[in-house]
């Protein structure tokens, strides 16, 4: 193999590596939260949480609210402490959505189930490495799109 071929092969490898290794800028946020249901409402079951970009940076008409970047499941309502990595280049603002898995099937309101409450909160103070929030699960069977914006 000639020197020219070697140079070409090397350049090709670097070019491909450049295509594959796109940088993603992640911003670490420690979240200190409280998840609750309205007084008197059943509260047993795991809570499924979704962390969304509040507004994406899509060009023109492609900009849109919400865009999940992490999900977690916690044992139940009450205090929550989670660390998430926010994709800085995808958008702005932070939204936390959650729902109570009362029947433990991992599905929000499967057919016949109408009593699994959901809630959403947009966090004030973003961006910051430490944020707190209070999330009330009070609306049954809705996805984040029905609660925000």
């Amino acid at each position: 193999m000639s020197r020219g071929h070697l140079v070409f092969a090397g350049a090709l490898v670097f070019a491909l590596a450049g295509c594959i290794n796109e940088d993603t800028r992640l911003y670490e946020i420690e979240l200190d939260g409280q998840v609750a249901v309205p007084n008197g409402a059943p509260s047993t079951g795991a809570v499924h949480l979704e962390f969304h970009v509040a507004q994406t940076f899509g060009e023109g008409d492609l900009a849109h609210p919400l865009g999940v970047f992490e999900t977690r499941t916690v044992a139940g309502v009450g205090p929550v402490r989670e660390t998430v990595l926010y994709p800085l280049d995808e958008g702005d603002g932070l939204v936390v959505y959650g729902w109570l898995d009362r029947d433990g099937d991992g599905v929000l309101c499967a057919p016949g189930q109408t009593e699994e409450p959901a809630g959403l909160v947009k966090l004030a103070g973003f961006p910051a490495h430490t944020l707190s929030f209070s999330l009330s699960l009070g609306t049954p069977c809705v996805g984040p799109e029905s609660l925000y914006p």
Binding site: T56, G58, G60, D61, L62, A63, H64, P65, L66, G67, V107, L108, C109, A110, P111, C141, V142, G143, E145, S146, L147, Y148, P149
Partner: protein, 356 residues
Amino acid sequence: MISRRIRGRWTPLALVSAVSLAALASLDIGCGAPPRGVDWNGKRLPAIDMHLHPGDWDHVPEDTRKFLASRFPFPIGLDAEAAAKGSLLPESILGEIDDAGIWGAGLFAIYAPRTVGIASNELVAEDLTFAPDRFFGLASLRVDRWTTDRDAELDRLKSTLSRPGFVGIKLAHAHQHFRMDDPAFFPIYEIAASMGKPLYLHTGTSPFPGTSQEPAYTDPTYLETAIQQFPGAKFILGHLGYDFIEKRHAGLSTCIRLAKTYSNVFLEPSALGSASSDPTGENLKEAMRRMREAGITDRIIYGSDGPQSPGFVKGYLERTVAAMKEVGYTEQEAADVLAGNFARVFGVTIPAEAAE
């Protein structure tokens, strides 16, 4: 002397070639437009592909562009962007359906900025003018700011549906991120019912980045409340609830049950039988067989989900026709699936030249 020998040896060959070419030309098997319709045991049946995507490459999210580019076959994939841009144009779509012998095509608008992008109602309206007798538009609307923009979006939808050439509504809960059972979005079905415009709904999972894959966004079971509540709206369940991630049937039984239970439910088997989603061809065949056994061939509306890549529209039609033949469809059943059911549901008249 040498030249005379050569001349003497080649003249008969040239004569034979000329006669052969003339014979071929007289058989009309050259490079002209293929005949319209599908050959079914010697008879030509009209075909309509209800599911085609026009669009604008610049209105496709970057992640999805990369995904689409990766799916173009070699060597088209080497310049996927140019290929994709070209394939979404109305003249290209018309060329694809002409090559396939297809007479009519449904052109879908879509507003899914997080997943497949935006093909606006305005773009579709413009494309419809390219072949107004053969293109049929399905309008759509944005739902991602529903709590604030609902009334304006519904008004825009109604206005679009009143324009010439728009025959129905296209929705994709998984791509647009709204639950199939969320009553907040039921006014869309109300418009479908009151204006007599059938709804096409994507069902099943999807390989596009950013899709909501949870059951409430993909499983046709979640549509049952709306189907019951709006008997005047016609629901066309696209892709038969297919699982495009695992490449297997997931919602087929539900789709068949819904079609058997409710007279306002129709089924469309597009995309699931493609070479990439059903490599062996067995899944498409099974779907066509089970729907026929369930006695609902009068509810099946043909679609491909093209244009995707050059030749896809034709290839998908061939796969579907082959599947129908293999599982015993009669000529009448095939005619219903390929065009008759579309014509009945959308109120379209099929001209004689659709199959000749």
